[in-house]
């Protein structure tokens, strides 16, 4: 990776300073998108900070791609404004927005060599030859494709095509990079590598603002500074990635982002100064991280499968008992399913007791209050 070269200190590189520090923020201001009477995006208000990777995730039809296309200028909002940096781009055509875009099937121009693909945006904008040459070289070096400059897209593998597509978007020094399901056409193995590469790329181009649309939670968790979870055309939750994972604000978020066990509880005692409340599930008294739950509230206690343990240690002050239903050994991990008064609890364990209990046996589960989160019981957003 010669991303340092790309971010640029060359003498001819007049925008280098502008780019290095200079991703722009994106601001959605009550953006509504509708096709006829069918509203696909309800008033959306959202900010992406300069240099931030925001992952929009959600099931298909949740409006995430529509939001990206509204930024790109392919979808016109019925109302609301979109700003990139200081510019209100709502009424600007796509070619005046200064963006870079990478789509699922790469859309490399098949009749152009790799270098011409990468040069496309700069040529279209009428940049001068010397600058184009240098930028193309830098962009290809950034994605490690310098050796393929003279090839045609059809001579490249899927992963290589995707790198070229990224280089093509980077060569124009975009204010915002839009990635629309960029990895979903790739094999699982290559996809994992590409996720890591995009992460590296962003570390070397810290100023680049990225809007990353995906339905894959692993990509989002790996890459994003912040995540917005979309559902039915609305933002269902939005926040820093780790917060959203550790303290999901609602059931949909908990279940969409990673796997979650949701144990119904009744709050016994509201949270103290450390933020932990006491809740009851049957006879068990459990401690969980709380927001503003009051005593008597029905609530759900969210515990991730990897935080449940069959063996106790000093942190694991919570204990519930379930009936062991299923055991699936998968090499690195063993997945167990227990039944706790009708609620299935999934456990992903790396450590198992020396004598594994029989199916049907009563098994105690231990977990730490720090790994839990109380969330409202209603299924809605």
């Amino acid at each position: 990776m010669s991303a340092a070269a790309f971010t640029g200190s060359g003498v001819t590189d007049i925008d280098a300073a502008k780019v290095r520090g200079a991703g722009s923020n994106v601001h959605f201001d009550k953006v509504v998108v509708a096709y006829g009477s069918h509203v696909v995006l309800h008033p959306l208000t959202l900010d992406i900070a300069p240099g931030e990777i925001l992952a929009m995730i959600g099931p298909s039809g949740s409006g995430k791609t529509t939001a990206l296309r509204a930024v790109a200028g392919f979808v016109r909002p019925a109302s609301g404004r979109i700003r990139i940096g200081a510019t209100d781009v709502t009424d600007l055509p796509p070619y005046e927005r200064g963006l870079g875009m990478v789509v699922q099937n790469y859309a490399l121009f098949p009749h152009m060599r790799v270098e011409d693909n990468v040069a496309f945006g700069l040529r279209a904008q009428g940049a001068d030859k010397a600058l184009i040459g240098e930028r193309v070289k830098d962009a290809l070096a950034t994605v490690g494709m310098s050796a393929y400059a003279r090839r045609y897209p059809r001579e490249l593998s899927g992963g290589q095509q995707q790198r070229v597509a990224i280089a093509r978007a980077l060569a124009v020094r975009p204010r915002v990079l839009l990635l629309d399901e960029p990895l979903s056409a790739l094999d699982a193995q290559i996809r994992r590598n590409m996720v890591e590469e995009i992460a590296r790329l962003h570390r070397s181009l810290p100023g680049l603002t990225i809007l990353y649309v995906t339905h894959d939670q692993t990509e989002a968790l790996t890459l994003a500074d912040k995540i917005a979870i979309m559902r039915d055309g609305r933002v269902c939750s939005h926040g820093p990635t780790t917060d959203l994972y550790r303290r999901p604000p609602n059931r949909f978020t908990a279940e969409f982002l990673g796997r979650a066990n949701l144990l119904p509880v009744t709050v016994a005692e509201a949270a103290g100064p450390k933020g932990f409340a006491t809740a009851r599930h049957g006879d068990a008294v459990l401690t969980g991280a709380a927001r503003d739950e009051k005593a008597g509230d029905k609530s759900l206690l969210c515990i991730r499968p990897q935080h449940l343990s069959l063996t106790a240690d000093s942190e694991h002050t919570n204990r519930i008992v379930g009936t062991l239903r299923e055991v699936h050994w998968q090499g690195e991990l063993t997945h167990l399913v227990l039944d706790v008064d009708g609620t299935p609890m999934r456990v992903s364990a790396t450590k198992l007791p020396v004598a594994l209990p029989e199916r049907g046996a009563s098994v105690p589960l231990f977990f730490s209050p720090a790994d839990t989160s109380l969330l409202p019981e209603d299924a809605g957003v």
Binding site: G73, E96, M101, N105, H111, F120, A124
Partner: protein, 265 residues
């Protein structure tokens, strides 16, 4: 995969060869043979000669080769421009208008060519649009008849073109004209070439409208072939037909080559 026994397959293949031979191969072979035939009174010609071709190359027939090529080229070029333009601008229209106009562009292909010729005669035989007796009216007839095919081919190409290409181009800063010239048209090139080739071939073989409108000095190949055979000079007619077939095939194969190389498929 449908017939598993070897003998069964053989019987079916012989049957196929019979149909194919009688319907498709025999006509082509016999035209080729007759264009080279010296005298033909029995089952097979009594001798072979290239005389018909040299006659054709010397005589007035050469002018009809020229007339057909020029007519085909100009009419196809005009149809290509007009069809591409129509298909591209139709994309921007609403669904209902698109359907209606799309249908209208196809209608010329459904009307009998003789009627197209008759219509042009009726419409352009009086001032201010006096075209009857000019070469232009032949071009117009051919243009009208092939325009639907170019429009259809280009529309089909556009429909298969993923919108991603143009959208990515826009987002990278390409204005509409730049995008059209550097992205849309190159991606459509295979369809444009195919459309041009098919139009050219159709124009070369056009007879119905041409016999209605052609002026004395502009006799196209098919008209010329017809008058030769009508006079009983069927060997010369066959030679001229072979030239027409060869020109058409070379054109189609050549264009296919170019397209294959350009798109690398």
């Amino acid at each position: 995969m449908l017939v598993w026994s070897r003998s069964g397959r053989l019987v079916i293949w012989v049957f196929f060869a019979l149909i194919f031979g009688v319907l498709f191969l025999a006509p082509l072979a016999v035209i080729l043979l007759s264009s080279l035939a010296d005298q033909w009174n029995g089952v097979l010609p009594s001798g072979l000669t290239t005389e018909h071709y040299t006659d054709v190359a010397r005589g007035a027939a050469w002018n009809s080769v020229k007339a057909s090529f020029i007519t085909g080229f100009l009419a196809s070029a005009l149809a290509l421009v007009s069809g591409t333009w129509a298909a591209l601008s139709l994309r921007l229209q609403g669904a209902a208008l698109k359907r209606l106009l799309g249908l209208l562009f196809f209608i010329p292909s459904a009307v009998p060519s003789v009627s197209v010729g008759l219509g042009l005669l009726v419409a352009f035989s009086h001032p201010p649009l006096l075209l009857n007796g000019t070469i232009a009216i032949v071009m117009i007839a051919h243009f009208v008849l092939i325009s639907a095919f170019t429009f259809g081919n280009v529309s089909a190409g556009l429909a298969r073109l993923s919108p991603d290409f143009e959208q990515v181009a826009s987002s990278l800063g390409a204005r509409p004209a730049y995008r059209l010239w550097h992205v849309t048209l190159p991606l459509l090139a295979p369809y444009l070439v195919a459309a041009f080739g098919l139009s050219f071939a159709l124009s070369m073989g056009e007879l119905g409208a041409t016999v209605m409108v052609y002026p004395p000095g502009w006799v196209t190949l098919p008209v010329s072939i017809f008058s030769l055979t009508d006079r009983g000079d069927i060997f010369a007619g066959a030679a001229l037909t072979m030239i027409l077939v060869a020109a058409t095939l070379i054109l189609l194969l050549g264009l296919e080559r170019i397209t294959a190389r350009a798109t690398g498929s």
